[in-house]
Structures are given as C-alpha cells and as structure tokens.
Symmetry: C2
Subunit: 222 residues, 2 copies
DNA sequence: GTGTGTGAATGGCTTCACAGCT
DNA sequence: AGCTGTGAAGCCATTCACACAC
C-alpha cells in the first residue's frame, strides 16, 4: 500500500524526463520492490498495462493519483513548533505533493506570534478555532509525549479524522479516526537490534539451536 | 519487533513510577498492541512471566534492553544539516536512549563550521575522515533525494552498516548493510488514502462488489 | 480465580510460475 | 519474443482458545 506512493513518485520523475513507457521490472528497481509485487499492486487498481509492452507512464500516474485520493485538497496543521515542528513546517516536500500546511501551533508564549517559514505560530489554546478557520482536515503532532494525548483528543473532538504523530507514545483514538505514527528513536533501536544480530559471532556456530533459544540464552537470567 | 522498543519504553516509564508488576493486558494497552501479542513477543525472549501474577517490570526491562542491543554504544553521524538534520541533531530523544550524535555534516559552505546544538557542522567532503575520527557506527541521512545515493555509497564504503534514511528515494545498498527508511510525505499520502476511503459513500452500498473492482471502477478509464 | 505460555487456526502479503495478449 | 495478469503455493504475523502454574 505504501508502495503505491513510491510508484507514483517514480512515475512523476519519469514523466519529467519524458519517458513514456515502463516495465514492471524497471519500476520495481526504481522503488525497491519486486516485479511481481508491482504487477500485483497495479492489477488491484485495474489492468492498465499492455502485455509485451509495459505501462504507459502518464496514464498510470494519473490513475494512482486518483486511487490515493490526491484529487482532494489536504490542509495540514502542525501542532508543536519545536525543532521537529519547525523543520516540518519548512519542509518543501509537503507542498509539492498536494499537502498545504495552513497552521502551526504551540503552547510556548515565546514562540506564539513568531514567524516560521511563511506561517505565524498560533496559540494551541485556540486550537479548535484555528482548525475551523483554516479548514484543516489533517493534523501533524510534533510535540512531547506528555502533551500528545490531550491535544490529540481535542483534535479529534474538533472533527479531524487524519492524524500523523511524531510523539513517542501510543495514542488512543476512536475507530473512525486514522492515526499513523512515526518514531525516530524506535527506528534507530531497530537498526541497533539488527546490527547486533549481524555482528553476533554465535550466528555461525553449528549446534542446532533455534534463534529463539539462542536469544533467550545469550543473557542468562539476572 | 518494533513493538519490543515500545514495551521497553513503557516499562521504563513504569519503573520510574515505582510499579513492580504488570500483566500482558496492561502492557498491551500502554503500547497499543494486543495482549496475546505481548505474550507471544515476550515468550520469544524466554519465559519471564509468572502465571497468575504477571511480569516483573525491572527484570523484563533489563532483558528487553539486552535483546535490543542497547548494551552496545551507538555513535551516530547525521549527514545533511538542513531543516530536518538540524532538528534531529537537537532532538533530545536520541541521547536519552543510548544514541550519541557525534557528527553533523553538510555540503553547504554557508553551514560548514557553524554550530548546531553542541555540534560543529563538518564538510561532507571529509565524510570518510569524520566517520573514522568519531568512530561512527550508525548514519542518519537527512539530505535531498539527488545527493542521497552518492553519500550512501560513501558511507557504506567507509564501513558503516546501519543507515537510517529520510531521503525520499529507494537507496541501493549491499545485503550486509542495514537500511531503514522514514518518509514523511508517504505517511501523509497513506493517511490521505484512508481518509478518502472512509469518506467514500460507495462503501455502504449493498451490491456484492469486491473492493478491488470497486476501486477499479470508481474512476473509469481516461 | 487470575494470567501466562503455547499449539492451532486464521488471514494477509509475497513469491512463483505460467497462461495469454501484443 | 516480451511482458502483463493472475491463480497457486508458501510464508509470516496475528488472533484464538485453553491447558497449566500460581
């Protein structure tokens, strides 16, 4: 599913380069997927390819855009104007893909009223009013764990159904709200885990221990 | 697997609160997983729980840390001192979990030599020297798509096996290198997709169309 | 009774392999 | 010949359900 967005990006790049046709194999290479993966994914959207030839880049790009809901205009508010919030507000990658950042909010009086990029920081106390006025339909939470749930509840109560959270906590939301989470520290920890496994000399020993017991026994009970 | 890091975080919070025991049910709520999920995950590390009682928080926390490789010291270099790179460099969440940010590099002469947080920006031309000097064993790529692959290759050649990329491209790395990707624009697009699906009035109609054909037919061929 | 540990069943995603169209 | 479209098979993760330990 996330792959569709990668296909779309690759296709748009190809478009600007003037490429007109592409095979599943080539598209797979460009996006890091497998060719059967590409074909299966695209077949779910309907059969837009031509056997023996490939896919028409422009035609395909248009259909994926439609399937992804990029016809809709998305108005994004970022809550939290700390390091991350500011970086996101200035990130050009959003605007270029149909996501308008329409508001930036924070609780810090020092920040409220200041300009970040082309936005003025609003007071999070006026969250509801700001979301309504700006017609926000998507919110990005870039704030500390402690404040996240409360703000999240208010965002939901204000009628926003799509939330992307960078706060390192498990937020509780009703079933009709769509919540996605990005957690950078977790990403690093997963890397650390794999790095450790790969460096582990025990991996090439030849007894028949399953990975499970191996892991359990490497650190005997404290 | 990513859940282990969430368990660990929740457990550490509980530790500071003085909680000594926890059930799979409670831990599941705190992390957004299911209780059978928690039990299965933990059973892979060995059987550290007591039937009818639950898990010992401190004991469990220690074992998960070990399993995740947090005994190792991780030295992280961030390549790219743009908005995102600077935000990451100042992000406190890394240091607190055993990841030391030891270098920040960029290609922009305007930035090289300036101070961000407690780091001085190095010239990416001296990448190899910096990585060696700082004993970096993990790299975060926070740079434009166009430059990502080249820098990535150099990082790999310099002997770093763990890379976290924020660049919106599919990077090619050898099999012995661990690469993870975080892509914020993709996250927003996935949200947009789901929001669109939920708003779709066609969802509650009663003909027997499978989702597949429904999607294919919503936008008839151009 | 309470809550873990774990086989069994389920469901989804990925890969394989090849028929069929150009 | 080349490449898509798609059933079939395989694989992994999640959920279910319950025996068992406390």
């Amino acid at each position: 599913m996330a792959r569709l967005t990668l296909y779309l990006r690759a296709l748009n790049t190809l478009l600007t380069e003037g490429t007109e046709r592409i095979s599943s194999e080539t598209l797979a290479e460009a996006t890091g997927a497998s060719s059967s993966n590409v074909r299966k994914d695209l077949s779910y959207l309907g059969s837009y390819g031509t056997r023996g030839v490939g896919y028409d880049v422009q035609y395909l790009s248009r259909h994926i855009s439609a399937a992804l809901g990029l016809t809709h205009e998305w108005r994004v508010a970022i809550v939290g104007a700390g390091n991350l919030g500011r970086a996101l507000a200035r990130y050009a990658g959003f605007e270029s893909r149909g996501f308008d950042v329409v508001a930036l909010l924070d609780a810090d009086q020092m920040l409220i009223g200041s300009e970040i990029g082309w936005l003025r920081v609003s007071d999070v106390q006026q969250l509801e009013a700001v979301l309504t006025r700006t017609k926000t339909n998507m919110v990005v939470l870039a704030l500390p764990a402690a404040a996240a749930q409360e703000v999240c509840d208010r965002v939901v109560a204000a009628g926003v159904h799509s939330i992307l959270s960078f706060a390192p906590v498990a937020l509780q939301v009703p079933a009709n709200v769509n919540l996605r989470k990005v957690d950078m520290a977790t990403e690093l920890q997963i890397l650390a885990y794999h790095a450790q496994r790969m460096a582990e000399p025990g991996l090439d020993r030849e007894d028949g221990l399953a990975p499970v017991s191996e892991l359990a026994e490497r650190r005997p009970g404290a």
